[in-house]
Symmetry: C2
Subunit: 381 residues, 2 copies
């Protein structure tokens, strides 16, 4: 396998932008990534494009806008892990020597999707979905279990305070507004104990990353970022499972990624991860072995995962404040890690970051028994 580098990253405007097409959002991100590394568009040899809703030759529609033609394009979908799937696809193509330069794109237009402003409709034979088992409902059940184990609503709010603070430092964030624990707890109740400000918003947006072989990378940049580890797996997730808080597939994929990268969790300088609901971030600390099992809460409370802490988590603002255009997020998290490794993350920079981890977790919104997908990439300079 060849060494692969990320040489260009780009992100579109994030927000509620129903007047913009998915193709135009995607093209904005692709242009930003091309500008970032100065590689000509015609150098791109392969593309993976992720989109969940209204996907219809998404990559072709985006790349046409920027004049990339006559290449292999693979459109992928893996719920919130779609972007991680796209990034991994391009990584494989280059690592295996099939192509030298490729682009991973993630895009979602949530406000124009069939679920805009609605709960996601359950599938025909999805009894729980029809009875109201939606994403917020499921994460609320998880939160209740966390509370039995010692967490408080204030802990969940603290994650949201942190990530909204981080969003204020990110020009790309959908929400740049500080909130207090009290404001978060007093926002509208969605599914007890989860309040509105503990939920990620609906977001339109796109992200893109250009990858190439390490040999070639040095032609385009003095700061190539290496893909040290890549892992992706799908597994059943059931809210009827013994420990509703556990994500066995998340742990499995983390171990695979660390092993491949040859790094220890304590070597990680920053993490971007799936924080669709505030309480989730605390559980993922443990899956990613940023702390010992059962110590996620203590890690949060210690301030270690804030910017300036030992291991900043979601310095971008995360899904909670930066926004969550589903399939874009798995590419966007990689973009954020790359900026930190290059020292280009501005006010939210992780000092002297050498190794970063981008995680994404995706599952069906209802009928979660269909499975959840965890995708992790470890990047280093």
């Amino acid at each position: 396998m060849r060494e692969v580098a990320v040489i260009g990253v780009g992100q579109s405007e994030f927000g509620k932008l129903p007047w913009r097409s998915a193709a135009s959002l995607g093209a904005e991100a692709v242009r930003a990534a091309l500008d970032d590394c100065g590689i000509p568009a015609k150098s791109i040899q392969v593309a993976y494009a992720a989109r969940q809703y209204d996907a219809n030759c998404t990559g072709q529609g985006i790349l046409k806008e920027v004049g990339v033609r006559n290449i292999e394009i693979i459109n992928v979908e893996n719920a919130c892990a779609g972007g991680a799937t796209a990034f991994r696809g391009v990584w494989k193509e280059i690592a295996d020597g099939r192509y030298d330069v490729g682009i991973a794109i993630g895009v979602e237009s949530m406000t124009t999707s069939p679920i805009a402003g609605k709960l996601i409709p359950p599938e025909k034979d999805d009894l729980e979905g029809h009875l109201g088992m939606t994403m917020p409902g499921m994460f609320a059940m998880v939160a209740r279990r966390q509370m039995e184990m010692g967490a408080t609503k204030e802990d969940f709010a603290l994650v949201s305070v942190k990530n909204h603070h981080n969003g204020c430092l990110n020009p790309h964030a959908q929400y740049k507004k500080e909130f207090t624990v009290g404001e978060i707890l007093n926002s509208r109740m969605i599914a007890d104990p989860i309040t509105l400000l503990m939920c990620c918003p609906n977001t339109d947006g796109a992200a893109a990353a250009i990858l190439c072989s390490m040999d070639m990378a040095r032609r385009y940049t003095t700061t190539p970022v290496k893909v040290l580890g890549s892992a992706l797996c799908s597994a059943d997730y059931k809210y009827t499972q013994e420990d509703i808080c556990a994500s066995p597939v998340g742990v499995k994929v983390a171990k695979q990624a660390y092993e491949m990268a040859g790094v220890d969790p304590k070597d990680i300088d920053l993490v971007e991860m799936h924080d669709a609901f505030a309480n989730e971030e605390i559980l993922r600390y443990e899956d990613l072995m940023l702390c010992r099992p059962g110590e996620g809460l203590a890690l949060l409370r210690s301030g270690a995962t804030a910017i300036g802490g030992r291991i900043p988590v979601n310095p971008s603002g995360g899904l909670l404040a930066l926004g969550h255009p589903l399939s874009a997020s798995g590419v966007r998290t990689v973009c954020e890690v790359v900026l930190h490794l290059r020292g280009q993350a501005g006010a939210r920079q992780t000092p002297n970051a050498k190794v970063g981890l981008a995680q994404m977790l995706g599952g069906l919104v209802t009928n979660l028994e269909h499975g959840a997908t965890a995708g992790i990439h470890i990047l280093g300079r």
Copy 2:
């Protein structure tokens, strides 16, 4: 790159089956493929699953039904070439040595999709789509151009006569009914000169193929079918282009596949291809170099592409009679070629078939400028 074999193929019921979920159709095809080769479900290490409409963790939903858990699943979309994209994805994984055994799945539930019984709605900024430029309209324009070059409506009908005859020999076909040229010409006019019986139907169905390394294949079967060539590319297709009948990307991909396989077009014993509209098949003869440029009509009229002819095309019945569950077709065509190479194609068997070609072409239904994708696999015993 390692040699890769197809060891198991399976197909679900094809037809208008709105009472069946995509997951159940997919699981039926997967079970048939598993039964075909006798490999245990738990041997599957990676899956690519293609679906265009309502895609939402399609592979996870299907594989859960058959007890395949904890593997890497990549859901793909590439319009009608989605199945070819899935098959190629699994081929790459095994050829590159990442995994030893994988499954490609294609599924579509057209009758429960958002476009069921409707024309596909044009995208927001798609002027031509809003003005009525639908798939039948576009292929009718192509047919008109073919008629200027010497084709007749009877020629188009002849393709449909041939493929409906073939469908009568295929237990899996949606339509098992012979039609005469007159019946086809007198069926309802859809977009002059294309009549109803020159259009592929809406179909629900799924197909699956199990691939593994050639070394391993010999453990499971005495008749492994080799993947000799694989190629896939997307390119712009415009009905405003100089020659509306040409598919430059189709020709490019055919050349790539032949070169990789190291076979000459004259070595091909049978072809399964995209015949969404009857007139299209004639053009594709030339793209695939089954005859010289300009000689597609003569090839059809000679009877060479009928069962029993020099180079049977769509012995399965093709999309016209077997049916066209969009994303399934690119896997299904491979399944059909495999059956012929094994000598298991029953009444429609190509005698002594040694090398077969499965082609699929996919594009956006409206706004075709987004591009068309051609995917070709050449298989041999």
